[in-house]
């Protein structure tokens, strides 16, 4: 005897088509709410994705870094530097590390070759540096442990350095001058490239600064080129993000011991940074989702009120339906379906509008924003849910009408 769902849907669609403008205005809050939630989720999703791809390009989430602790008051004594011997001591205590990359930089080092010169960063590193950065020579080779031990006069050039200094000549085997040292070029690094979404100082390539670096053995740097220089930062590559966190924990007391209890170094990990960023983006998204939910709540209340008013207006219709045999359940379902249809439709409009906005905004910011299928499903479910919740009161009111009184209504 009951009215089937498809019949109720048909009645609902007829009712909505009859009152197009009113239905659209009714559902405005839902449209805004769904749109808001969808846009925010997509922006966050896009932000996380681009951060992750940046991190991965920079050696992944397995990295631990040791740097000067800017929060430490250096007037209490101590220096945020390590000698080669101290470095080797640390290296010996971290056998689980995949690679260790202490860095001694010489900024504005001028390399000279046949009257041409090139000034940028020359860095003293271990052979581990390749693994560290997941970055290998394109031509020739990197220096090895033997050359490191022997303070060998060898250099590996960044791709931009080689291009600028040697033009079309083959740099391998040639000698360049750095200060008073003659260095033999044994390799040229691969070109690094990462599309900078916002453009920037190096044009489209956010990693161009790496192509301008050159590498010499750490020992050569510390003993010959820049004698007396000290290590100011170390990077450590772990086997997994979990390992990175445990190495980070282990490293702190080691450094404190070497530095006589002075916290001159800060130990950080990409994993930790990521977690922090995730935390931040979680808070950010919670705020916007709250805004979306509040507008959905307001939208729901508006719909409830309009449906209640429309039931007052349609009392006689309800009376007629009851007189010809509609049960209370039929009336309840009829109004419930109508409310859910309206909010569901609002959800669809919200998703379409959200997409349009995402398209505009991501084009404007040059940032990828990803709206996944599950996001659309969530938006749709939420809007249908709002209809289900706020449709109850009007539907109950309609189904409770007394047929005699409803038929008498003018």
């Amino acid at each position: 005897m009951a009215l089937s769902l498809s019949e109720s849907l048909q009645i609902g669609v007829t009712d909505i088509m009859m009152r197009k403008v009113r239905s659209l205005i009714t559902v405005f809050g839902i449209i805004l709410g769904v749109m808001c939630i969808m846009v925010v989720l997509a922006i966050i999703n896009g932000m996380n994705k681009s951060t992750l791809s940046w991190m991965q390009e920079r050696g992944g989430t397995n990295k631990v870094e040791v740097q000067r602790n800017w929060n430490y008051d250096f007037r209490q004594g101590g220096e945020a530097t390590l000698t080669l011997a101290e470095m080797n001591q640390i290296r010996g205590q971290l056998p689980e590390a995949e690679a260790i990359g202490p860095i001694v930089s010489a900024w504005n080092s001028t390399l000279q070759y046949k009257g041409f010169s090139y000034s940028d960063q020359v860095i003293g590193v271990l052979p581990d540096h390749q693994k560290m950065e997941n970055w290998y020579p394109d031509k020739g080779r990197f220096f090895n442990e033997f050359e490191l031990r022997e303070n060998a006069n060898v250099i590996v050039l960044g791709s931009s350095v080689a291009r600028d200094l040697f033009k079309s000549d083959d740099p391998l085997g040639e000698s360049v001058m750095l200060k008073d040292q003659m260095l033999t070029v044994i390799g040229v690094m691969q070109e690094k490239y990462w599309e900078n979404p916002g453009g920037g100082a190096f044009g489209g390539n956010a990693l161009e600064y790496m192509n301008r670096q050159s590498f010499v053995p750490l020992s050569t740097m510390m003993n010959k080129i820049d004698a007396g220089s000290l290590i100011r930062s170390i990077q450590i590559l772990a086997k997994s993000p979990e390992d990175a966190l445990s190495i980070q924990k282990k490293l702190r007391p080691i450094l404190l011991r070497i530095k006589n209890g002075r916290a001159v170094f800060r130990v950080s990990s990409a994993q930790e940074t990521m977690q922090q960023m995730e935390q931040n983006s979680k808070i950010f998204s919670m705020i916007f989702i709250m805004i979306g939910l509040i507008s959905l709540l307001v939208g729901g209340i508006v719909i409830m009120n309009i449906m209640l008013a429309s039931i007052k207006e349609r009392t006689r219709e309800i009376g007629v339906r009851l007189a010809v045999g509609a049960r209370r359940m039929d009336i309840f379902v009829q109004f419930m379906v109508q409310t859910v249809l309206i909010t569901g439709l609002g959800g669809v409009f919200g998703i379409i509008l959200g997409y349009a906005i995402l398209d505009l905004v991501s084009g404007y910011l040059g940032m990828p924003m990803l709206a996944g299928v599950q996001m659309i499903l969530v938006s749709l479910l939420v809007s249908v849910g709002v209809g289900l919740i706020f449709g109850i009161a009007p539907a109950v009111k309609a189904s409770k009408l007394d047929p005699v009184i409803a038929l008498r209504d003018e």
Binding site: M1, S4, V320, R321, L322, A326, R327, R328, L407
Partner: protein, 227 residues
């Protein structure tokens, strides 16, 4: 066979805090196939009686048998089914749904009895044909004359083959020409074996019936039993 039988039917209303007795013990019997008119001045209780006979309302006390079944004690959910299957209503103000076309209006009772869309359409157009409106199926009620609207309402009332037709002042909103046509339809339905119960205060209209039941102050004054 008695289609309607009531015993000491009483209906009380609360008007504010005052109890008002609308029906004070109605003893009524109507036979299947009868054409009766219920008459009485306003406030006499004839509308209340019609609501109870039509299962739109339940009595406060007393018993009401419809087709031999006791219905006065049934819950409201069960009354909806009885209204759908056994009773066809015709109202003074037609009570058609304005946004539905003629065909859809007539299909309404069939929809609530769970008939398929195809069968509904078939049956509704057949009935509309029999009241002479086969060329108005897609019209909206406001595109029809009063007489035509009442014919749609009659079609809606009889489409589910009810046990009885309950008409409340069916000619009240019509001119005498259209009203006469409507009464003619009731007459034809009666001749075809249908039970017709008509509430009216117009004695000229009431005279068309086999029997006139007069109600005053919530009691049957005259015509309680079938001749």
């Amino acid at each position: 066979m008695e289609i309607i039988k009531t015993q000491s039917l009483i209906k009380d209303y609360l008007l504010g805090k005052i109890k008002v007795r609308a029906l004070a013990g109605i003893e009524l019997s109507i036979l299947s196939g009868e054409f009766v008119a219920i008459m009485g001045p306003s406030g006499s209780g004839k509308s209340t009686l019609m609501h109870i006979i039509g299962c739109l309302d339940s009595p406060s006390e007393g018993e009401y048998y419809l087709d031999g079944d006791l219905v006065s004690t049934l819950p409201k959910s069960a009354l909806a089914g009885i209204r759908n299957r056994k009773i066809g209503f015709v109202f003074q103000s037609f009570n058609l749904l304005p946004h539905l076309n003629v065909l859809k209006n007539v299909e309404l009772p069939l929809m609530y009895s769970g008939l398929s869309a195809r069968k509904r359409k078939e049956k509704a157009s057949q009935i509309l044909d029999s009241v002479g409106l086969s060329d108005r199926l897609k019209h909206k009620p406001n595109e029809l004359s009063g007489g035509q609207r009442q014919r749609v309402a009659i079609a809606r009332a009889i489409v589910n083959d009810p046990s009885m037709l309950l008409a409340d002042e069916p000619t009240g909103n019509l001119d005498s020409q259209a009203g006469g046509d409507i009464l003619e339809i009731f007459n034809d339905l009666h001749k075809a074996g249908n039970t017709v119960i008509m509430v009216t205060h117009d004695s000229l209209v009431a005279e068309r019936a086999d029997r006139i039941i007069e109600i005053r102050d919530g009691l049957i004054y005259n015509g309680s039993l079938a001749k």
